[in-house]
Amino acid sequence: MESITPILEFNKTCVSYTKQTMAVKYVSASIEKNKITAIMGPSGCGKSTLLRAVNLMHNLYPNIRVDGEILLNGENILNMEPIDVRRRVGMVFQRPAPFPTMSIYDNVLAGYTLNGIKLSKNEKDNTVEQCLRSVALWDEVKDVLNKKGTFLSGGQQQRLCIARALALKPDILLMDEPTSALDPIATKHIEELMLELQKEVTILIVTHNMGQAMRISSKSMFMYLGELVEYGDTATMFSNPSDERTKAYLTGKMG
């Protein structure tokens, strides 16, 4: 049997917005290294909430509680400093959010600027080129690196945001419906990019789009009402779901 390295483990992870209701209920799952894992489920099932727990985004909002454990390489991130965790866990949001006052060049390096890490001119140039190449944006923007990031198209902006997240060489890349604001062609580009990137980084992606989960992920989670209903190989889940609720969702009877 081949060895499976879990890079991230959820252990009875719970997230609650109010004392009475839990948005994520006792989720336990191991995420494998260098694979794409999709989190699917209908709106309000807690998939984004679970994803945002991984880089401690919930710490920003004092009323949100996260319980249980989330282990990153065996270390419980809930006990770690947010700035430390977030450097190792990159995130790409639903809407492309390049920093509007920064150039394309500075956007890629924003992670370093925000962490107070000084790079030499040479290191900067190399990082920018390498990151933009890895998101297949270099050829399109190499002559306009000094223009604002917001000058790019939606799909390009999203790739810029991925490059910005990759620049810090994270262990995991969280993607929260990264293509839902994009057109089909831009979506296709991003999907191809993700398949390429999984060699370097583990990707955990929330998606509303079943087709997308099928096309890109090797593992899938199906969540419903805050519970992790089913977790397994994407191919198996789509062809032969073991839970009635998964089946209902995948066949379009629920959504």
Binding site: N55, M57, L60, P62, P82, I83, D84, R86, R87, G90, M91, F93, R95, A97, F99, P100, T101, M102, A110, G111, T113, L114, N115, G116, C161, R164, A165, L168
Partner: protein, 288 residues
């Protein structure tokens, strides 16, 4: 018939449109009337010397009036006093106001922040004459004299709530995704504020600062208690100093100098208008 009903509705619509236009025109009328009045009366007095020379003495002015000549001198002492006090007030009000606005915007649920926010509203509503008299007690009395410093303290207090509010409002309307994206890259809150949020909010904050300046530049009452006035050009900050609105009040009280009211008013009005228009322009430019 349906057709009649439609006509009725269209007529109502037109009536409403005319009504709205009428009230809009009524609002614009006083502004245009004020501008026209000040422009017509003040235009004659504007000359190079009006901006470079201090106020003439009443005696000189009287002689000139008797000789049928234009009144000599200008309002340079007032302009310099106004600029000096505005600069001193801004140096403190801008950073303190922005920092306070940051605190309020970032901690909307914090009890202390809510308390400060409430105080800011109160301060904004405090009559300027009260700010003047309080500054008199706080600054003029201990310093044993009227001064530019005292004037700037009064202006500083008046500018503060305006800058706090505009910073807070601008930061609050920034998309939350900006801040989250910054924090997701591992930045701490201070760095994300300095490198991402404040630069993105710069247009709004700068507009707020300009509007705060244009709001206090015409303040007269607080300066009467603090800066007092001075008839010659002076740069020392520990002595009484003049200001354009103070001059307008002085001119009004001196029959020999009354002619100068309009030139000084025109200057003040144009200055405020320029600030307002540039504020609008900058905000628009920055948001593109």
């Amino acid at each position: 018939m349906t057709n009649n009903k439609v006509k009725k509705r269209l007529a109502k619509d037109r009536l409403m449109l005319w009504g709205v236009c009428l009230f809009a025109a009524m609002t614009a009328t006083p502004l245009i009337a004020i501008l026209g009045e000040v422009l017509l009366k003040g235009y004659d007095q504007l000359s190079w010397s009006f901006f470079t020379e201090p106020t003439p003495t009443a005696y000189k002015a009287m002689k000139a009036i008797e000789a049928g000549e234009p009144i000599p001198g200008g309002i340079a002492n007032g302009i310099i006093g106004t600029m000096l006090m505005l600069a001193m007030a801004s140096v403190f009000a801008v950073p303190i106001g922005i920092l306070c606005g940051v605190f309020l915007a970032e901690n909307p649920k914090n009890k202390f922040a809510q308390f400060v926010s409430y105080l800011t509203d109160l301060l904004q509503g405090t009559p300027s004459v009260i700010i003047g008299i309080v500054t008199y007690i706080w600054v003029v009395v201990p310093m044993k004299g009227y001064s530019a410093v005292a004037g700037s303290v009064a202006l500083f207090i008046m500018m503060l709530p305006l800058i706090i509010r505009s910073t807070e409002e601008t930061l609050k309307i920034l998309p939350a995704s900006l801040k989250e994206a910054g924090l997701a890259l591992g930045g701490n809150r201070a760095r994300v504020m300095m490198k991402v949020q404040l630069p993105a909010a710069f247009g709004g904050i700068f507009t707020g600062v300009l509007l705060a300046i244009s709001r206090v530049i015409g303040e007269t009452a607080p300066l009467m208690f603090t800066a007092l006035g001075c008839s010659f050009i002076r740069f020392s900050i520990d002595k009484p100093i003049s200001a354009v609105p103070l001059l307008i009040w002085e001119f009004f009280n001196d029959p020999n100098l009354q002619e100068l009211i309009w030139g000084a008013s025109l200057f003040l009005l144009l200055f405020v208008l320029t600030l307002n228009i540039s504020a609008k322009y900058i905000a628009k430019k920055w948001n593109q």
